[in-house]
Symmetry: C2
Subunit: 207 residues, 2 copies
DNA sequence: TGTGTAAGTAAGTGACTGCTTGCATTTTCG
DNA sequence: CGAAAATGCAAGCAGTCACTTACTTACACA
């Protein structure tokens, strides 16, 4: 059963480089150090193999956001960082999968698992922020979530192609997007300015 | 010379559906209502045809932003709307092109023409906003530009796959992202609150 | 020692790929 | 009209694709 794993890993690598049409069973077999027939004996068809390989790469758990926000900047920044890291590690596969959306919608189904849940988690957190009075500005949680996730997604997908378009340094990007979003929501920087009106009101409400 | 145009248009359509590997010369010929040999007589090779087709689809001029901002919300919103519309019309082709980045970097070169210039224009505009004192908050123009463009890009690419993740209605999305960004920058909504401190200072500085 | 299972090897299937050739037909234009 | 250019048509080329078949080898366990 070791060859099965080797094959799946190889399939992921070759798919990330060449997409569905490009990852031929011969190339996968070579990359796995395995005979081509073994692939068909183990998985039946190329499609079944790729389906299994995609299931594996896309089933990941994200850093959770707390149900009750306490330090929004810290909590959101670390969430953003784990999200951008997740996307960067898989940027090749994600680009390929998105490119083959129309042709192979089932594959997209599994690929959209992570962003769907990330969006729901983030929306939930932002709504809690609002409810607790920690945000001075009115805002639509879904729009705010889409904005942060969109910025992170575009950075992870596009920086390799156009590095001059994205903020420097790369490792701080998630933090910078997060801070900008918090400003838009009117969320104070917890650590520093604690004498502010909104923050006082927030503390009253959350207490 | 009419067939040349038909072929290029057909190539764009087939490429948008199936990517480089999937858009065979036979399929393109069928879509163009033309004999396959005509393609080779006109363009020499499939690669040359696709190169020409990509050149055509990606050479577009964007709605310009004024050099001197006067009504940021109006100006930025209409820019965002034209940008998101541009991306939506080409979302299939863009997804395919991005998926084939590693394999065909020259194609990405031409595809990145529009976003590169959009980013430069937007940065320039945001810097002018700042210089004129129209923004109450400190911010990095490149981060802000990447955030707005990223949100718009992700919306244009992903809404078809996960509509529930993005704000409703679709036609207002660009406006909503733009407003959220302006809040982050501390840019007042010109039409309404004009009695505010920052706005007064902004007017003094810009005068 | 014998048996079952997973793997390798070699060959081949029909369908499709980009691209070419030779020749007949249509269109264009002086 | 008549020559030249552009197109269509039919066939074929060598290569690749996913997948199959028939047979051999290697190892596990009883």
């Amino acid at each position: 059963m070791d060859s099965r794993n080797e094959i799946i890993n190889a399939a992921c690598q070759v798919f990330a480089k060449l997409g569905f049409r490009g990852c031929t069973t011969r190339r996968i077999a070579d990359a796995a150090g395995v005979n081509e027939v073994t692939i068909f004996r183990q998985f039946g068809s190329k499609e079944a193999l790729i389906r299994e390989a995609m299931k594996r790469t896309h089933s990941v758990e994200l850093t959770p956001l707390p149900d009750v926000p306490s330090d929004p900047e810290r909590e959101l920044t670390s969430w953003s960082e784990s999200f951008i890291q997740h996307l960067r590690l898989r940027s090749s596969i994600i680009r390929k999968t998105m490119g083959e959306m129309e042709e192979r919608p089932e594959m997209c189904e599994s690929a959209s698992y992570v962003p769907r849940h990330a969006s729901a988690d983030l929306c939930h957190y932002l709504t809690a922020l609002k409810r607790q009075g920690m945000a001075a500005e009115k805002f639509d949680p879904k729009t705010a979530a889409a904005m942060l996730m969109g910025a992170i997604f575009a950075d992870a997908m596009g920086r390799g192609m156009m590095p001059e378009v994205y903020p420097q340094p790369e490792e701080k990007a998630a933090q910078m997007y997060t801070r900008l979003l918090l400003k838009a929501l009117g969320v104070e920087n917890g650590a520093r300015r604690t004498t502010n009106k909104q923050t006082k009101r927030a503390k009253q409400l959350s207490a």
